[in-house]
């Protein structure tokens, strides 16, 4: 009898994921998987030390990412990923702290924390999967839901103006701001690589298809249709005015919007602390 063995096909990036937590809970065509894939590709190209990576996520579908990454990770309460990450980064500035969260978590309940973390230029890297609604809880409207979109809490069409996330991030003081869609995977990967090598508060928004819920309510019933919208409407206008970077049915402005150098909070703080420490030592001796 010949013992047959079928070789187990292992994805080359499976070492970046917690195999005992896979497969993930995300739907068919969900952009969250694409974001994690691009992130993992960027980590691999940079050969990032996974022992020094901390992934923090909030509540939402994308919030499950922390559980799937093979690194120190934490899943906070809704909206509080950024202040938690602030505590982590300040306590140990050697750690690479990445917040991966959603549009509602970062900009509705977490909006206040976002603008202050950006204002302080905390060395935290933020990846936002913007799926234009609250997916995990069934598809309610959120701060980025486009006008007239149908959601479970705006059945007659959304009448709230959505946030322009890149404008908000740029105005709050982020040192790197970019927006891509889940179609622009290669440029997204390059942006993530850039972000991981930058100092200060960095923000990348990825427009993410939510075909099972948002798409279905808004006449884009499959991931392919939503990606089709991204393909048709996207224009790359890097370093254009972020306040004019709209997302509409006909026009999605993507690109890098801000790429500046600014001293990060934790660097400033630790420089000050060492100066104060030295002075205190002199006084004691």
């Amino acid at each position: 009898m010949v013992q047959e063995t079928v070789p187990v096909v292992l994805h080359p990036f499976s070492k970046y994921l917690r195999e005992d937590m896979m497969p993930h809970i995300w739907c068919q065509g969900c952009g969250n998987g694409v974001l994690v894939n691009a992130f993992v590709h960027a980590l691999d190209e940079l050969q990032t030390d996974l022992d020094k990576l901390v992934v923090v996520s909030g509540i939402g579908c994308i919030g499950r990412t922390a559980g799937y990454m093979n690194a120190d990770s934490f899943h906070t309460t809704h909206g509080r990923a950024l202040p938690f990450a602030t505590g982590v980064k300040l306590a140990n500035p050697e750690l690479e702290v990445v917040v991966i969260s959603g549009d509602g978590d970062l900009f509705a309940i977490g909006g206040n924390h976002f603008i202050h973390a950006a204002r302080r230029n905390m060395g935290i890297k933020v990846l936002c999967a913007n799926n234009l609604n609250y997916g995990m809880t069934g598809g309610q409207q959120g701060p980025t839901t486009p006008l007239e979109s149908v959601t479970t809490t705006s059945p007659y069409g959304n009448i709230e103006n959505p946030f322009n996330l890149v404008h908000l991030a740029a105005a709050s003081g982020a040192t790197y701001v970019a927006r891509w869609t889940s179609l622009h995977v290669r440029r997204l990967t390059q942006s993530i690589k850039k972000m991981l090598q930058k100092e200060g508060f960095c923000f990348i928004e990825m427009l993410s298809p939510c075909p099972e819920i948002y798409g279905r309510y808004n006449k884009m019933r499959s991931g392919l249709e939503m990606m089709g919208w991204f393909k048709k409407a996207s224009v790359v206008e890097s370093f254009s005015d972020p306040s004019k970077a709209d997302i509409t049915a006909d026009r999605i402005v993507v690109g890098e919007f801000v790429d500046i150098s600014k001293l990060s909070y934790e660097k400033m703080l630790h420089e000050k602390i060492s100066k104060i420490n030295e002075r205190a030592m002199e006084k004691v001796s």
């Binding site: 901390v54 934490f74 602030t86 982590v88 306590a91």
Partner: protein, 380 residues
């Protein structure tokens, strides 16, 4: 590094608390200004950097508590300080600290409530909230200082308890204890007992972040040590992975979080007993009110009434056994509180048959010794 404060000093309660934190090894403070706890933040903003520690003023109390948990998970001893309104805001994240078993200290310098209330006047209206404030079932430790010396000592003890039991420990002061000035005697650093969290002693691949030891507390790794573990506020198994559909996991986890404190209560609870051996009337008090109660029972003894004082140093877990023992020999219990009746409910429950008289007082002054003496006299 500047040296820690030692020797005899004349300090206010908030400053003593801040110095206690530093003596205990706290190297991270995130807070938001609120009367009457602002002085803790102001003092630490100056002292923390002298020790290489981190002070950050966050945008609100919710962010403060989240940052404290983050710093705790990165390996630092972390603390925040607030009063009633901020304490309410922090509840969700106190729940997160309980669920993820993050050691930290939260100081609540209580003031008149509810809502904005009387920011500059004392109260004891948050003591029940200390136990039940966050949603869900859990065990928590709360201490009640009655003097500036205790603001120092109990802060150190709060850190030690939080590190031992991996639970947020609350220091329930009040505006008077926080703002009054008294002599504090601080021992040299090598004489102060410091407890640090237990670290894992297994190789990285075998580490289970929420597998408890015999004392029901799991050893704690921190970020950056290569353990690559996950922690979540969702119901989780020993790996830290969410298990939101399993009744067994929920039952095991929540019961353990409650038992972690209740089964170790005998090691946690501290009370002060004054003249209880032959007492007919026992006054059960805590915080600033206990100072007046002490004076009251002494006056009562002068008048021939056998009164005694049971001062609660630990509010939660509630010292049931100590109250029950004191109640057994007594004819009556008097509970003076600066609220409308909170700890008195627990006292009644523990005292069983012994009648309990409650004396409420709200506003600027705590009960005077004469007021308590009057109630003692009426109930003997």
């Amino acid at each position: 590094m500047k040296t820690a404060l030692t020797g005899a000093h004349f300090l206010n309660g908030d400053v003593a608390c801040a110095e206690g934190a530093i003596a205990a090894g706290c190297r991270f403070f995130a807070g938001y200004p609120i009367t009457p706890a602002t002085e803790i933040a102001e003092h630490l903003s100056q002292r923390m950097p002298e020790f290489g520690g981190i002070y950050i003023q966050m945008e609100d109390e919710i962010a403060s508590m989240a940052a404290v948990i983050g710093a705790s998970y990165s390996g630092l001893k972390a603390m925040t300080a607030t009063s009633g309104p901020g304490f309410s805001l922090m509840q969700e994240n106190i729940g997160l600290a309980v669920m993820t078993e993050a050691p930290c200290v939260v100081v609540d310098v209580m003031r008149g409530g509810p809502s904005t209330g009387q920011p500059t006047l004392p109260g004891q209206q948050d003591v029940m909230q200390a136990k039940w404030g966050s949603h869900g079932d859990y065990g928590i430790i709360a201490l009640s200082p009655c003097s500036v010396q205790e603001m120092f000592d109990l802060t150190v003890e709060a850190f030690n308890l939080s590190e031992t039991y991996r639970v947020p420990t609350l220091l329930m002061g009040d505006e008077i204890v926080g703002h009054m000035w008294e002599k504090v005697v601080i021992p040299p650093p090598d004489k102060i007992v410091i407890v640090n969290r237990k670290k894992p002693n297994v190789p990285r691949e075998k580490y289970l972040p929420f597998k408890p030891d015999e004392n029901l507390v799991p050893p704690m790794a921190c970020f950056g040590e290569g353990f690559r573990f996950h922690a979540t506020g969702l119901t989780h198994n020993e790996h830290g992975y969410p298990r939101t559909s399993s009744s067994e996991v929920q039952s095991e986890l929540v019961h353990r979080l409650v038992d972690k404190i209740s089964k170790n209560a005998d090691k946690i609870i501290r009370v002060e007993e004054v003249m209880l051996e032959d007492a007919d009337i026992v006054v059960v008090a805590y915080g600033i009110v206990a100072r007046a109660a002490l004076s009251a029972i002494r006056k009562a003894r002068e008048k021939g009434i056998k009164a005694g004082l049971l001062r609660l140093i630990t509010l939660w877990p509630f010292p049931e056994e100590q109250v029950a023992n004191a109640a057994k020999g007594a004819k009556g219990i008097v509970v003076p509180e600066m609220n409308c009746g909170q700890m008195v409910r627990e006292v009644e429950r523990a005292a069983k048959e012994t009648p309990v008289a409650f004396l409420s007082k709200l506003g600027e002054d705590p009960h005077t010794p004469m007021e308590i003496l009057e109630v003692i006299r009426r109930n003997k």
